[in-house]
Symmetry: C2
Subunit: 441 residues, 2 copies
Amino acid sequence: MRVVTAAELARALRRRETSASELVDAALGRIRELNPSLNAFALIDDEGARAAAHLADEQLVAGVDLGPLHGVPVAVKDLIDMAGLPTSCGSATSFGATATEDAEVVRRLRSAGAVIIGKTTLHEFAYGATGDRSVHGASRNPTDPSRMSGGSSGGSAVAVAAGMVPLALGTDTAGSVRVPAALCGVVGLKPAYDAVPSTGVYPLAPTLDHVGLFAATSEDALIGYQAISDRPLSLQSGTFSVGWIAPESIAVTDPRIDELTRQFVVSAGFTIDIVQGFPTWQRRQSLFEIFSTLQGREAFRVHEHHLDADADLIDPEVRARLHHGREISDQLYARADEARLELRVIVDELLSTYDVLALPTVPIVAPAVGDRSVLVAGTDLEVRRALLSLTSPWNLAGSPAVSVPTGRLDGLPIAVQLITAPGNEGLLFAAARNLEIALAK
Amino acid sequence: MRVVTAAELARALRRRETSASELVDAALGRIRELNPSLNAFALIDDEGARAAAHLADEQLVAGVDLGPLHGVPVAVKDLIDMAGLPTSCGSATSFGATATEDAEVVRRLRSAGAVIIGKTTLHEFAYGATGDRSVHGASRNPTDPSRMSGGSSGGSAVAVAAGMVPLALGTDTAGSVRVPAALCGVVGLKPAYDAVPSTGVYPLAPTLDHVGLFAATSEDALIGYQAISDRPLSLQSGTFSVGWIAPESIAVTDPRIDELTRQFVVSAGFTIDIVQGFPTWQRRQSLFEIFSTLQGREAFRVHEHHLDADADLIDPEVRARLHHGREISDQLYARADEARLELRVIVDELLSTYDVLALPTVPIVAPAVGDRSVLVAGTDLEVRRALLSLTSPWNLAGSPAVSVPTGRLDGLPIAVQLITAPGNEGLLFAAARNLEIALAK
């Protein structure tokens, strides 16, 4: 499907070829057509969107131009507060709650003139990579609705992939932006830790949580990032060094995905080195175990009150995951935290050797909705663990990371992930742009 | 919660104390607040509703009065066609489909001036009594959101019970209106077979399907019924005879529900006889098996093409149910059809002895979302079978039946079911009204 980008809409708006109100109507029309089966939106704020669009149009007519998002429809993951609307967190435990203030990131989007269409479906409490356990049902992959969207920000990925909106906010604690972006075939950005404020965003595991975004192109991701981050961004060009991390050194990966994504990066004109050091390090303790210990304990602390008060309202799988976190001792958490620091040292070293690290975003294609195990290269994998295995290390490290589509395998999207050091985000956008040009050829 | 009835709204509209547009805004506000956790609506047609309300207001100002539904917000189960909107049937198999014409029942609602707010969540294909297997997730019981709404018309029951709209359409093949009405504490009406046209309504089992409705009161149910049925209705009063069917003669029933509902009917001033004959008859073959054979085979025929084309998109539980229907032979179906005729003879005889038959609507209170077995009086019951056991006989018989709330047990709604002969619907409304007066005392 031909997806209209935010950048194109911005140009059309300024040429008066369309209006923000027309764009809202078009977005609502597409949502109306596709949402009943894809489940991207949990709440459609038609009234708020129409009012915002009306204001945006009046401003443009009056010569007030708030920048490239002015008048552009966007969507917000439904664990990010919007004043006057409920924040469901994908959970029935939210029953009756309404946010009184906008999250800071929503405030920034509005200041940039963006028109927020509604709140998107997520895996309950953002605590799941499959996107199929939510009070609103599974969000579904637009390429094949029998397949999962991935999660937890599944609805935002679907909203962009299905052409409902060009830009959508998500959050990423273990891969919750990059995984659904990869499975649905759109760009997914997890900025550096703390580069985007999390005020008004319901936490999952505070030391690992990142607010991120989805876009059809890296250009749109850049526009979105500039609106929600206040860190200066230096746009770089020229050649830069790329270190390829063999995904098998981290987790079992479909060898065809490894091969296709690596070849794709090379075909886009990058010279790659195969990174040494990552594999040696992680033999002692799996990265995902370190990650799970930190996340499990933090998520339990965040949601402990739900287990006391509303346990019956929580999806059994999510509830079991929360209960498991109760068992993680202080000692175990402290040991995992030390391992996290060791990883950060290794990643820092690698990112002083290479400008950008690259590896597949996800080691498998989108499994069927509801599937919990998948056979890859003769190995039976647990779906959640597989989905998050290659993304969660960069939540441990806090590094900026972007997932970029690289084509299809078995008819389903696959993607490469690019990682850089905080401050070098410009490189990510430049590298992603090169990949997109190669893909379009 | 204080629910405003359609009848009250009709009076307020004519006194110019409110407008149809105000009522739409109020309904949308309540939906916005509660829908993210209760999941009553799959699609909110704000645009269509606002346009319809605007027209209704203009007509009222111009002196055109279409009757008691003029300007009143209503909801429609999402397997009933509305032109220009998708009909999801609660299923991802609906991907991309949009209805081109209104169902006849929708056309009649519009002719009566009703303002349709949106489409409500249902159990996939209407093939489930639990209301918790849908592409949109479980609809949830407003009394306790950890409990099921019942189904298949769960969203419509929730929409009325939560005060989102005073009236909602559903369909009832085995109890899909009456069961969620009982579990959520609202009035649920299954008219006589063929009393309401099913053109534009996606079938489940054509010889058992009935279009019905939900309302907060029997007065509203009467208003709704008169709008969608073209059969003349004689409103009766005076005394009439009530035959109580001991629910245990049909299926295992929580003895407290049997006791409470029967006492309630007596306390409302009715003299009841305990019906003989029903138990004797059904020893040979359980009514639910007869019903299941007929429904299973018909539902398989209706959805056979989905099993060929989109099996992966169907919820596994619903898919297994459809597959089971494939195994039902012509002989088995014919034998069940003969048993249905025998039942009809028995019901006809009973309804020549008694004006109204009565029994609990559902033998249990609402189970937790996702539960598939429940312990009642020491017996482990399959939830679906239990939910439908006391309602499905009246789909076999084609008799008009209404479920009326009779209070609570363990904090959850319970209800009594009243059945009469086609043509005597006026008795149902009169009897229901008597019960409501008794409940309000």
